[in-house]
């Protein structure tokens, strides 16, 4: 009896969000698959072209290249911001006076719009009249040199996220009871041993959360790259996947091909998430499906 009443109530309560998720998250995936088999330039009518778009995208080296560039980008950003975030958290956790203020300060970049930060850094890194070059007293073409462009953009992303990552590690560190550390010290463990054998393993749930969410987010980077290096950067070295899809859909106006790329990205991200989940599930007692 209660269950039936509950059911009606439940579905009534769920109706708006169910509509929202179906219409704006689930349905679009299906529509992308349909668009992937059509040719559309945003202006005229849509025509069915079967797998032509898939062939075109496969033949277009730039898409594969953008996947590679994004992977390299993630490979630079994630370790850097995770390690720096952890170091910051360790320092903040020492409980020194003013730590709270530092913690707040470090999060400031994360509050700002990535687009706005990109515009800001485009000045800092400008070859002529830029702040960094003025500080260094040298002229370095941070964003125009094909070798420096991607690391520079990656550095801006790391700068933006370190404080945010540090917050999570801070919480994780504080969740480790002091008694554990005290016991280890009584057993004669050195600070280094304590860190590697006790702290790090106990931080796994936090590390897992941080890595999973940040990897997914970093794969989708767009705003800051768009502001720092429009048009994919020198020799296209900062042509990340989200940028390529945007360019293909809204500047080249080859929507069908962009849809194929979007689908590939989606499948890729699902695979990455599942792999991560499996890898971590074996190594931690934390159960995400609880």
């Amino acid at each position: 009896m209660t269950r039936r009443r509950d059911t009606r109530t439940a579905y009534l309560l769920l109706a708006p969000s169910l509509f929202g998720i179906s219409a704006f998250l689930v349905l679009p995936i299906l529509v992308v698959a349909v668009l992937a088999m059509q040719r559309w330039d945003l202006i005229g009518p849509r025509t069915f072209v079967g797998f032509d778009n898939v062939v075109a995208v496969a033949a277009d080296g730039r898409f594969a290249r953008s996947l590679l560039i994004t992977a390299v980008f993630v490979a630079i950003v994630i370790p850097a911001q995770t390690v720096l975030g952890l170091v910051a958290a360790l320092l903040l956790n020492r409980g020194l006076r003013g730590s709270a203020a530092f913690r707040v300060l470090y999060v400031l970049p994360w509050i700002c719009a990535p687009l706005a930060l990109g515009v800001l850094w485009s000045w800092v890194l400008a070859p002529t009249d830029g702040a960094l070059n003025a500080l260094l007293g040298r002229r370095v073409e941070w964003l125009a040199d094909p070798v420096l462009a991607l690391p520079s953009v990656a550095a801006v992303t790391v700068w933006t996220n370190v404080g945010y990552v540090a917050l999570f590690f801070s919480a994780g560190l504080r969740a480790i009871p002091d008694t554990v550390h005290e016991a280890a010290m009584l057993d004669g463990a050195s600070p280094g041993q304590r860190f590697w054998r006790i702290t790090l393993p106990l931080l796994r749930p936090t590390t897992f959360f941080v890595l999973v969410t940040q990897i997914i987010a970093t794969f989708q980077v767009f705003d800051s790259v768009y502001a720092l290096t429009p048009d994919g950067g020198p020799q296209g070295v900062t042509d990340v996947v989200a940028g390529r899809i945007y360019y293909e859909a809204f500047e080249q106006r080859a929507v069908g091909q962009a849809a194929v790329m979007a689908l590939v990205l989606f499948v890729l991200l699902v695979a990455v998430t599942l792999v991560q989940q499996r890898w971590f599930a074996r190594r931690t007692t934390y159960d995400l499906s609880a």
Binding site: A10, L13, P28, I29, L35, V119, W159, F266
Partner: protein, 270 residues
């Protein structure tokens, strides 16, 4: 000694974090003539608000984009809070067939990247003829967010059953229960969700960029980007624009920072 070392490193971090903001602010209050003729790092002499004035002049006013952004955030916030609370309550406290499977579907949608949905949504909105409208900016987000629902469900599960039973005994229906029992008890997590929602949508760029054109429904991020194109290497004005773009949230953040910091760390895991 360790203390000194720690402070040194923390201070270094603070400098690296703050320097770009302070330098850009210094540039924003310099007159273009001074910027062109003196070294880049010289201090503004005298500091001037002319760059900001130009941003509030007739042609490149940042007033409209700021107001539009505030409107969008307000509506999305309202919708997300209400509808996410509804859904989270259903998942957390009600028993019905398909509950766990449906919740898993909700969670699964967290994996859908924004860049994937904007193309079909653009096509759909084009067919419906609602490109470049206020509702175009708001609709995809206003019906609740899976992340918010996930967050709230965890919290709602922890509400003592006695409170809810007591309400039921008093004859309260579902909505009354939610409003009078669940919401007051959940203020911290609701504050968290509110903060995350405000930050996410104030800073949203890709969807507004794509679905709006012209100045009528331009949000702050899109206006900043347009200004960057327009004023190219006139850095004094561009930096004034970024200052205006980041200032509102920064002020809000510094005012509520205790809540924000606590909120961010409550999220997602136990």
């Amino acid at each position: 000694m360790r203390t000194a070392g720690t402070y040194l490193l923390l201070a270094l971090g603070a400098v690296v974090t703050l320097a770009p903001f302070l330098l850009s602010l210094a540039t924003a209050v310099k007159s273009p003539k001074q910027f062109a003729s003196e070294p880049v790092l010289s201090s503004p002499d005298p500091p001037t608000l002319s760059n900001f004035a130009e941003l509030f002049g007739e042609r490149y006013s940042f007033v409209a984009p700021t107001v539009v952004t505030a409107q969008v955030v307000a509506v999305v916030l309202l919708g997300q809070l209400v509808f996410s609370v509804f859904a989270a309550y259903a998942f957390a406290r009600l028993d019905f067939p398909g509950r766990d499977a449906l919740f898993w579907v909700y969670l699964a949608t967290l994996m859908v990247p924004q860049i994937v949905t904007i193309i079909p949504l653009y096509a759909a909105f084009a067919d419906l003829g609602i490109r470049n409208t206020f509702w175009a900016l708001v609709l995809p987000y206003v019906f609740g967010s899976p992340y918010g629902i996930f967050l709230l469900r965890e919290y709602f599960r922890g509400i003592p059953g006695d409170l809810l039973d007591a309400a039921k005994l008093d004859g309260a229906g579902t909505l009354r229960t939610i409003w009078h029992v669940v919401v007051p008890v959940s203020r911290p997590i609701l504050a968290t969700l509110a903060i995350i929602t405000v930050v996410t949508h104030w800073n949203n760029f890709l969807w507004p960029l794509v679905i709006t054109s012209g100045r009528q429904w331009q949000v702050l991020t899109v206006a900043t980007s347009a200004l960057q194109s327009q004023y190219n290497s006139n850095w004094t004005i561009v930096m004034a624009a970024t200052t205006i773009a980041v200032l509102p949230l920064m002020i809000l953040f510094l005012a509520f920072q205790r809540h924000v910091v606590r909120s961010i760390t409550i999220t997602g895991f136990r």
